[in-house]
Amino acid sequence: MFVSLASPRAGSALTREMSRESLVILAERTRPISSSQTRLLPVAAPLADLFPDRSLRRGSTIVVTGTGTVGREGTTGGGTVSGEISLALALLAQASQAGSWCAAIGLPDVGAVASHGLGVDLVRFALVPRPGPVWAEAAAAMIDGTDLVVLCPPFPPRPAMARRLIARAKERRAVLIVVPGRAGWPECPDMRLTIDAIHWDGIGSGEGYLRRRRMTVTATGRRSAARPVQQHLWLPSPTGSIEGTASTGGIMDAESTAAESTAAISTAPGRPR
């Protein structure tokens, strides 16, 4: 694939000239046609440990569910309440800041201030609040043109439809983040993030106010990600962003070393590799 460089002989002007020429050809060949040529998209540091590449893999599908989502019909009003949307928005943030376009389909109530607080660049954030019966077509169109698509299907998707969207994301090298809510998602994703152990802090019986929410996110995936990985998070943190909790090694930032991150992961027991 690559141009083979002439064997480097230091000091030879001719060789250097040739190398430079080959380098130009090489650069031309590897020049990205668009940014979609890169394989990975960045993800917020506190979430990175959940993913085998510490980033979002292009072409993959991620399903985000809360513990109460399955079989919750009629138990709580007002759509999802377990942090799925917050987590989905948090997944967008880093890539969005890096210049990727993001889309949210079927989320009529998404909070702009919260999205902004989590780090989503609102300039490159397109919403299709009410896609109606053609939601799958709208999602397919968005997959064609944006790097990350959050989809909350308004109706239960048929397996064939779900498969088509997964295949589309793979082909177009987008990341499809599904928040199934009550509609469900019939297909097995590349990665499943399950939210658990949610607890709001800072509020009492008529005193204080909602300050931050602790949650545990468990990631299970295929192949290299088959081993479940757990991460304790503040989502949102008191400032509306996302942070790792103190119990998992404190607030981690982009500079946190690999050793710290490894210490921060607590793996779920029981599943043999």
């Binding site: 709580t76 109606g132 043109g145 607890h199 009492g204 106010y209």
Partner: protein, 364 residues
């Protein structure tokens, strides 16, 4: 009305079974796109693009028309023209004309009624001695509405240059074709590096713009929105939804001024565009309300949203009374309260107004 450049390919107006026509058409679109990324496929053989920016860049409208004609004529015979609005632009393209801005009415005046694509109306008007768009446009609009109804008014507005496009389904825009062309075209990678010419449009932005336009074709122009932040007291006021428009660069300024009485951060991730009715009761099952002094009448014990089963309230904060627009007749007295249920797992922002509770936002 938009200043539009229209490329009309007379040989590509009828689709064939093999799809060769559509493929040639996509090549035409691709060629035009090298110069402007915002192109729209109107129907097989006709595509349009907003011309204002490109015309400025390429040294005038005539120059742009010539340039586009040059780059596309190698693929198929083309007719290129420019005018205000799609209807006039297509007619201008047929004559290869550039109709000056604001000159639509004069330009359209000599055309026969038939061009409006409404044979019934044309026949009726012809019997009344009205044979051209100019004659039709000179009729008072109120009379047109009275005699010919809403359809007639749409045609009248087009004829008089007030509107750029006939309403569907009699109009020019066949959305299914546009959609199919867009889908096919999205399979063809955009010409790399050609789109960053003006307005700082990057490849990524152009690709996204095409996808967003495709969704607008599918669901209507208002279906795709972006959000802007603004000052406001309650979460709903702090954001403004703006219909996405390919021709506008979004305004990126955000306001960070403090707003007194604002609910403290973090902000809720779900703000219900239509508040959800809720009921809040105390231990005895009696409804909890906010008194005139802004205090709760009892300690809340259970919450039900949208008539779903009761959940136990484990914590709450507030109420915080708001008295908005106290100077005007649209005065609103209300109170907000954060309520947490299910062992501190689920949090909501409740609004009390006129003795009733609503879920205004969910800390999703």
């Amino acid at each position: 009305m938009d200043r539009l450049l229209v490329v009309r390919c007379p040989e590509l107006l009828e689709e064939d079974e093999g799809g060769a026509v559509l493929r040639s058409f996509i090549r035409v679109i691709g060629a035009v796109e090298t110069y402007c990324p915002w192109i729209t496929a109107v129907r097989p053989g006709i595509c349009s693009l907003p011309a204002r920016g490109p015309a400025r860049y390429f040294g005038g409208e005539e120059a742009l028309v010539e340039l586009i004609a040059d780059v596309t004529s190698g693929i198929t015979p083309v007719e290129v023209g420019m005018a205000d609005g799609l209807f006039a632009s297509v007619l201008a393209a047929r004559g290869g004309l550039v109709v000056p801005a604001g000159g639509t009415r004069e330009f359209l005046a000599p055309f026969p009624m038939g061009v409006l694509g409404n044979p019934e109306l044309a026949e009726l008007l012809e019997r009344l001695g009205i044979r051209t768009l100019g004659d039709f446009a000179s009729l008072p609009e109120s009379h047109v509405l009275g005699r010919f109804g809403a359809d007639g008014v749409v045609c009248h507005m087009v004829a008089s240059g007030q509107s750029g496009e006939l309403a569907e389904p009699g109009g020019l825009r066949l959305s299914t074709t546009g959609r199919r062309v867009d889908q096919l075209r999205n399979g063809v990678p955009a010409a790399a590096g050609q789109s960053g010419f003006w307005g700082g449009v990057s490849d990524t932005d152009a690709r996204a713009a095409r996808a967003l336009t495709a969704v607008q074709h599918l669901l209507g122009p208002d279906s795709v929105v972006t959000v802007r932040l603004q000052g406001g007291r309650n979460p709903g006021e702090q954001a403004r939804f703006v219909t996405w428009n390919a021709h506008e660069t979004p305004d990126t300024t955000t306001i960070h001024a403090p707003w007194p009485g604002r609910i403290p951060p973090p902000a809720p991730a779900s703000i219900h565009t239509v508040p959800l009715p809720a009921e809040l009761i105390d231990v005895a099952g009696a409804p909890v309300t906010v008194s005139g002094r802004g205090l709760l009448t009892a300690i809340p014990s259970r919450l039900s949203v949208e008539r779903c089963p009761w959940t136990t309230v484990t914590a709450w904060a507030g109420p915080w009374p708001t008295d908005e627009r106290w100077w005007s007749r649209s005065r609103r007295r209300s109170a907000r309260m954060q309520v947490v249920t299910d062992a501190n797992a689920h949090a909501r922002l409740l609004l009390a107004e006129r003795g009733r509770w609503w879920v205004e936002a969910t800390y999703e």
